[in-house]
Subunit: 369 residues, 2 copies
């Protein structure tokens, strides 16, 4: 029996449980605290930043993977040196830890991305702004997520507080028509499979909805797949890779990367023959990948924020019996991702209306009409 170890007990680890049940793998989770979303599979509770705790967990499993990007790379490198399998490997994972490293490596691969500068000082700022124009996007290179650590900036004072902590990534503000995500998976044997491209919708920097497949010309769709494959192979990614893209009149440009199951891929659980969680486990275990083909024509995913209201669900008013629900069993908190709903079928517009109404009843849904 393959024993998979997941560092982090969040909803991504939680959603690996159904996949491991089907595949006949054992799943063990190293959570930070009791009562995490992945509680059922938790085998150890502690601090993943402590080398000895992380090593103790690694010794109980065959392959180590992640629910989040926060494990220090040097600890993972030490595990690899000790002979543990860590997927994605630390040298690939590093790109998702540091956005400046990501931009440098993607530049080296010749992948289209927004113009960018590393800003250490006022003089760097002046040079960058002259090139990027008056309005740009500043990002703290490490630790940001869901819109945190990202600002639209026009003046030095907008980032001077960050600069005192370290370098800041300054990027061209893209005039995009849509945001897209290309997800794929690369196995430890080198096999590669991609799902069709999806459209992602953000509200205040947080993914709120996903529509699939994204409407895009064949040429740009192929380009997106090619970018994902180049990144996966060049960096030796193992597991699911999510490439978030801006779609502009000038083409597509890489926004962010994730090397694990990603919010933009939750829709595949119902829409594809193979969920991203199953594919991730297959990939890191070295099993043949499952087919990513769509079982329905199209689908929508709507995040449920703040709470997941079972009382409203039991009443059932406005909650479609055709919409599939995923409750992460998190304590209620304003703006937190509490779950998501998915609807698949023939036509996106009625599916979206139905999924939004269901999400609104269960918690908060966020969208621009």
């Amino acid at each position: 029996v393959v024993r998979i170890g997941v560092v982090g007990g969040g909803q991504l680890a939680r959603m690996m449980i159904p996949a491991s049940i089907n595949l006949g793998f054992d799943l063990a989770v190293f959570a930070e605290e009791e009562g995490s979303p992945a509680d059922l599979a938790v085998s150890q509770v502690g601090n993943y930043r402590e080398a000895d705790e992380l090593e103790a967990f690694a010794r109980t499993v065959d392959v180590l993977t992640f629910d989040h990007e926060h494990v220090p790379i040097n600890l993972l490198e030490a595990l690899v040196e000790q002979g543990h399998k860590v997927f994605p490997p630390p040298q690939a994972l590093e790109l998702t830890h540091d956005k400046i490293v990501m931009r440098e490596r993607l530049a080296g691969l010749g992948v289209p991305q927004p113009a960018w500068f590393t800003v250490h000082s006022r003089s760097d700022w002046d040079r960058a702004v002259e090139s990027l124009g008056g309005s740009c996007v500043a990002k703290v290179p490490t630790g940001g997520y869901d819109g945190k650590g990202v600002r639209f900036v026009t003046e030095w004072d907008d980032i001077s507080d960050w600069i005192s902590q370290g370098p800041v990534l300054l990027e061209q503000r893209m005039n995009f028509t849509r945001e897209l995500a290309q997800l794929g998976a690369r196995s430890s044997t080198g096999e590669w499979a991609t799902w069709p491209l999806v459209e992602t919708r953000q509200v205040e920097g947080v993914c709120s909805e996903v529509l699939a497949p994204a409407e895009l010309g064949a040429k740009e769709s192929e380009l997106a797949k090619g970018i994902a494959l180049k990144i996966a192979e060049s960096l030796g990614v193992v597991g699911v890779l999510a490439v978030e893209l801006f779609h502009t009149d000038e083409g597509i440009f890489v926004n962010e990367l994730a090397m694990r199951p990603h919010n933009s891929g939750h829709i595949f659980t119902e829409l594809s023959a193979t969920s991203q969680f199953e594919q991730h486990l297959r990939a890191i275990a070295g099993y043949p990948l499952g087919s990513p083909h769509f079982v329905a024509k199209c689908g929508v995913m709507v995040n449920v924020f703040s709470r997941f209201d079972h009382a409203a669900w039991v009443v059932g008013d406005g909650i479609s019996s055709r919409v599939k629900v995923h409750d992460y069993q998190k304590a209620p908190r304003e703006g937190r991702k509490a779950g998501h709903v998915v609807a698949v079928g023939e036509s996106q517009s009625p599916l979206l209306a139905s999924a939004r109404e269901t999400a609104r009843k269960l918690g908060d849904a966020r969208y621009d009409d």
Copy 2:
């Protein structure tokens, strides 16, 4: 949070885990031994025939349900008297414990079934055989499953050993063209939903394959749904009800009943918007039922017997990436159900070929060409 308790740690309890993860229910399993298929959710190990052990488990959950039919009815009645929710309720569940009780109750409902007799003695036998003809089916009323406790008989000596243990059910041997199963679910609030009828194929009395939807005229399909509804409502079934049917030139006749997720419904996990495991949990928790509509045109399920060979899977030869696998993580044993595979799509014939080949590689597949 709704806390569901399942008595029995087999594959049916195992496959309730993914559903509980999605729905945001807590699942607890009372298993007979360590290392059961439902191991991940096991909260108690012991003997469900011991009233105090069963009661201790019931006190930890909101609703009690079952992986099998072996819990003594009197113990369940005692739990209900103490105020525990037990679904399906003991008075319904009793029919699945005793085949003679089932025949009596179905006769009272006017449901079409094979002609039958209860045989206590040689004189009963003579009278029954005179009426049923020379060849009939004898069944031990309690404890039989998967073809065990069932014999084709022609002579008194064929059942005399059984008679010494108690009464035997003697049934007309049906000249059926196909076997079918009508599955539905009734919630604790009385809501009722049915999946389309499926065709089941048995080899040596054990379900080996399921094809869905079954090819049957609209009139007989409606009749099958009507029979299931009548049984569910009359008996107060709560949860999934599986009605196994013979299809003959004279119509359809009830063979057996199950009041839990059933092998014939495994196909719905991929083929329907709502799996039988999700529907069962919704029904017993009193939640609105999910839509049972099919997300693909058709599908096939093939059981994997004896073993589930991960080494062959890793090699991948002959194992379709489009076939979904379910490994129950049972110790290998000749003839035991070790898992199943499902393929869904547009046309049953290629799906069946592909699923059979995959099942053959993973373990033993059983079918008549």
